[in-house]
Subunit: 706 residues, 2 copies
């Protein structure tokens, strides 16, 4: 062994701390921006209070869940796992809280900065996104490495650290499901009464649900997405380390490698982030060699001026991700060589990185209105809402083909490379996990490009509500469009990484549960697979119905306010924003319980009743069926959204035409698809697997003995 | 061995011939009814000619396919398999042709009979359905038993007979996909111009697409459904026999048992059919003992008078299926005892029968407007088309839970019972196949209740077009409503039996391909599963887009005729029905090629490139994902349809209200869901598996050696 495991872990810890330092630095930088005029600040304050209220109530519910589950784990498994579980939950919740704390403060600052120029606006919004991104990776890495060092990192104690992933998953579940229900209930509710019944525009301050709608963007797209990827990031590293531990004499190197790759990813992400916000370097760093390089590259690659098109902006963000990827490839080659494992594992990391970017590209193709699929939906609006829906669903289904082929190829190549390197299926499965770590290694910057979107969206809303000049709104619109594109690609990335992570965790589960016979035609396997394939459908049905129910409650309240508050429509009466925020919060928290409980309870029931083999089958069923359904829903939703936007640019009669009305139906159907049910499936896939992994030792052969 | 295999097979052959005799008798009886007045006959003639034209052109396309595939099979496998393939294709096509031949003649006779009384109308329509049902089971059984006897029935020659299943599958594929595209293109196209643009009612003779629409009901719902279940029926018997052949010393009994159960099913189905049409017994049979029993039961169970409600009619049809099931249980107990196999196998048949009925019941619950789920969709129409779609999709997804649990339980219990009886996984898988045979044993009468629907639907259209008195139309409407319910439950039954059949065929494939290691985490397995899970999405996307394209062509033609034919709207000009029929035919045949080719080619490519293990994984992926998607689509479509019908009874403002408009959007989206894409997935699941089984011996370990 050339390089001890603990050294890899300590490097990862140090890089995690570096990321944490960046978070603090960037937080101060973003908050130092001008928060705008009084009207703007008042609106921002309402959003801040609404978000904080939701998050604190959500965390209170989660805290009860965490305490109960921790007690169960401590009682039936080990106190160490319970401890890791609590730490994982706290780390994820902390990153989510921080990301949202800054997002609801960066929004108003972005609006104010956009009053000066476009690049300034981008830098504030992206800075906020980068805080979320780096908080996720560094909190995760710090948490795992510290626990690893506490437990001596011995292979048989690695199982404790799976608790960390379970804790992160639990937060992700409620953040994604609760946040997803909240955001779409408020959005649909606000639109149905405001736009349709009262005929007032989007983001109009007279609409009592407008603040809830803005809060929703943050709790759903910032906190929800962050927790989702926190889970994938932690899960892929844990799975790789767990699988590496059983790979014989080189196991120490195999355990250390994912940590090294993650550490390398933080360096690269920091670089990528500076490619966007690079004009302004840390104080005192101006003369350093690194600063010179950053400035040099920044000058050539990223040009954002007033006339920047969507393509220019997109190129800027892409360059940051690609730049980070290049650095990861270079540095992880060093890491692989240093670890003394086969060169094949570097290829595996390359496969993961390429797969992640390829999925993002395909997602963009299927959801961008400059491309055929979305235009075909716009074309179908001419014959009404029904053909719009049919075409949108068909596009969503068609869009699953390439993501599946990409992930299938990545899995096949990873297993093959790992198998060639160390001659066993186990080393192949380790390679799949490592490929997932590679895909997620750019997360610091990828998530920044993603979490930036809601900030820009909010900034536009604040600009509208505080009646800022048209050119400000024009700039925030540009930033918002960019955010919609990155949100779509981010969703592709999230589901792709979820599948790889889940597969790696599944392999870890099979190892931990000591399953010998995994015959796909085994006695209980097929019932398991079928039940597993059904879970995403049940879960999606519940979350879609939840959005419908919650939106209905908002509609009733908004109608009541328009009826009962004198002068509301004329702008003299003051709407009761807090009432709508309260209803969204209540209903989101109430409706997230059942799907959330199912995700945890069903694997335990199946594992005990049908046995551990059936559980493995169920996880495979959920993974494959959930992957397809999630991609279909996310892409259909994105394509409907953009088909509507394309029509709004003047196609097929433009805004107000019959085509536009049909497109609005598509967009509204797409809302819970792409922002609630679809993304929640990522969590379902991972959470069910990690629950199984944590409780692996407790499952037997089930009630049906054969 | 108490009972030789060949005796079982000969009994099955004799029962097949008995069924065939019934088909001829019943055909003469139905055709002896009064075909109505001249107007009615002229309309019926147009439908007959359109149907015959489509079927003959479709069969010509299929003939080319059959010749090519037979040549491939003869070249790369055996001429015997190729022969069986051709026989299977001819038998299925023959049953489909006959079923449609009588359906397009029974429709006008049903309309005329409904002019006299309700029971007479039911007897003609149901008689037509029973011809389809009995033709399917008897042609299948005759074909297989004769081939079995020709090849001496030795176990190692059983593989040839899989070709029969493949032939049946090929017909089913094109009949379901082509027929499904045809029927919905004509339906949607006729409605979009006729109802929406010109404001003329459904089934108005001025609409140039009205004949195409009526033809569509027959080619889609009669010929398509018949071929689908012909395939399931044949496939389940072939799979059971193939799996039985490897079960050691009792293998002869195991091979014979499915044939005996099928034979018993024919007796029972004949009995069930007479429970509906029982007032009129065969000539000369009036004094016989059987006739007395039939008359006795018929008097007590089936009461259909003028004031019969939908429930009464439904009860009549249900009694016929339950009566048949009871007989099967009694006689198959004799068959099991006679065969000398364990009593457990009788329980397995019971499990299959119960599962089939349970799925039908659940389907009815989720799609009937007297129940909550469909009413919730109607409720959602109040807030517009978007919420209607969201609620409908949620109901569709939710409706997958119980069918999955039912099938999973049936599989688990069957494997368990088989395993307990003969102590091996192989005997467990044989039990699954036998359970499928049990589920399908009532097919003669189940399919009759199903194929009856389009006849009643057509009868209503003919009554409308020939301006028959209101009370006639009232009676045909009652018969049509009944048909809609049986169509929905029939779809549940079709997909449930498809899954069991596919699973049994998969087990046969694994045996035939000599696969030892089926580890679900095996190197190529997961890529296979993911690709398999993607196939139903790709297939559905293609078929939904095909409906859209074909409907668009119809719209263009209908608009042209209204524009160019003078006096068309006033009823003085003659529409060119044949042009619309021609376009539907052309486009359906053109659009069915790509999805059809994919279903055959993809398994061959995966089997050769990724190897036989990956292919097994792919089949599992397709089966699970396809099952879910098919149930979701079929039930969402059925529920939307009935939500619209419920509103038309006066709920939420009734016909013409905003709620009704939203419900129409749901119904139109549901059309390709429930009649094209959803049912086509049944075929995809089975066809991909049987292609793999037939070519099993040609697959190796693929290009990636591990």
């Amino acid at each position: 062994m050339m390089f001890p495991t603990s050294a890899s872990v300590i490097i990862a810890l140090l890089m995690g701390i570096t990321g944490g330092a960046f978070v603090i630095y960037e937080l101060r930088r973003v908050l130092s921006y001008d928060p705008g005029n009084e009207t703007m600040q008042a609106i921002a304050k309402a959003i801040q209070e609404g978000s904080a209220a939701f998050l604190s109530r959500e965390y209170r519910v989660i805290a009860i869940f965490v305490v109960i589950v921790a007690a169960v784990i401590a009682t039936f498994l080990h106190w160490q796992t319970a401890l890791c579980f609590v730490v994982g939950a706290i780390a994820s919740a902390g990153a989510g809280y921080l990301g949202m704390y800054v997002a609801v403060r960066a929004n108003v600052r972005t609006a104010a900065a956009a009053g000066r120029n476009l690049h300034e606006g981008l830098r504030v919004a992206f800075g906020s996104g980068s805080i979320m991104g780096m908080a996720v990776v560094s909190f995760s890495l710090i948490g795992m490495t510290v626990l690893f060092l506490v437990f001596n990192g011995s292979p048989n104690q690695l199982i404790y650290i799976t608790g960390f992933g379970f804790g992160a998953s639990s937060i992700a579940l409620f953040a994604r499901v609760g946040g997803g229900i909240y955001t779409k209930a408020a959005d649909v509710g606000a639109d149905l009464v405001g736009k349709v019944e009262q005929g007032i525009p989007e983001d109009d301050p007279r609409n009592p649900a407008v603040i809830a709608d803005n809060v929703g963007d943050n709790v759903g797209d910032v906190a929800g997405m962050g927790a989702d990827l926190f889970e994938s990031y932690s899960g892929s590293i844990i799975a790789a380390a767990t699988l590496g531990a059983v790979l014989g004499e080189k196991s120490g190197a195999f355990i250390g490698l994912p940590f090294l790759v993650a550490a390398v990813g933080i360096v690269a992400s920091l670089f990528g982030i500076y490619m966007v916000t690079g004009k302004e370097l840390p104080e005192g760093a101006n003369g350093s060699f690194t600063a010179k390089i950053l400035r040099f590259i920044g000058q050539y690659l990223i040009k954002i001026d007033e006339n920047a098109s969507l393509d220019d902006l997109l190129k800027a963000l892409r360059c940051s991700v690609w730049g980070a990827s290049a650095i990861i490839l270079a540095l992880s080659l060093v890491a692989v060589l240093l670890s003394g494992v086969s060169f094949n594992y570097w290829l595996v990391i390359l496969v993961g990185l390429i797969a992640g970017n390829a999925i993002a590209y395909v997602t963009e193709y299927y959801t961008s209105y400059t491309e055929k699929p979305t235009q075909a939906i716009a074309h179908a609006t001419q014959t009404g809402a029904a053909t719009t829906i049919i075409q949108g669903l068909a596009v969503g289904m068609m869009s699953t083909v390439f993501p599946v082929l990409i992930v299938a190829t990545a899995i096949l190549l990873s297993i093959w490379l790992g198998h060639k390197a160390d001659g066993s299926l186990a080393s192949g499965l380790y390679a799949v996990a490592l490929s997932g770590v590679g895909m997620l290694s750019t997360l610091g910057v990828t998530l920044a490009t993603d979490a930036y979107g809601p900030v820009a969206d909010n900034a536009g809303g604040i600009a509208e509500m505080s009646h800022l000049p048209a050119d400000v709104r024009h700039r925030t619109d540009a930033l918002d469009s960019l955010g919609n594109t990155t949100a779509a690609t981010g969703k592709g990335f999230a589901i792709g990484s979820a599948v790889l992570t889940a597969l790696a965790l599944l392999a870890a589960y099979v190892t931990a549960a000591k399953i010998d016979d995994l015959n796909i035609l085994g006695a209980t396997m097929l019932p398991g697979i079928l039940i597993g394939a059904m879970m995403p459908y049940l879960f999606s049905a519940l979350t879609m119905m939840a959005v419908g129910k919650a939106a209905h409650e908002i509609v009733v309240e908004v109608r009541r306010q328009f009826r009962e508050i004198p002068g509301l429509m004329e702008g003299t009466g003051q709407p009761d924003y807090a009432a709508c925020v309260g209803i969204s919060t209540e209903s989101a928290l109430r409706e997230m319980i059942l799907p959330g409980a199912l995700a945890v309870v069903v694997p335990l029931v199946v594992g005990h009743v049908l046995g551990k083999e059936a559980l493995a089958g169920m996880l495979v069923g959920t993974m494959s069926s959930g992957f397809l359904l999630a991609v279909m829903m996310a892409n259909a939703g994105g394509a409907w959204d953009n088909a509507k936007k394309w029509i709004e640019t003047g196609q097929y009669g433009g805004k107000g035409s019959d085509s536009h009305k049909a497109a609005v139906v598509g967009d509204t159907v797409g809302d819970p698809f792409k922002d609630t049910s679809g993304p929640s499936l990522n969590i379902l896939i991972k959470l069910m697997t990690i629950v199984s992994l944590v409780f692996a030792s407790s499952f037997g052969s089930g009630w049906f003995n054969f």
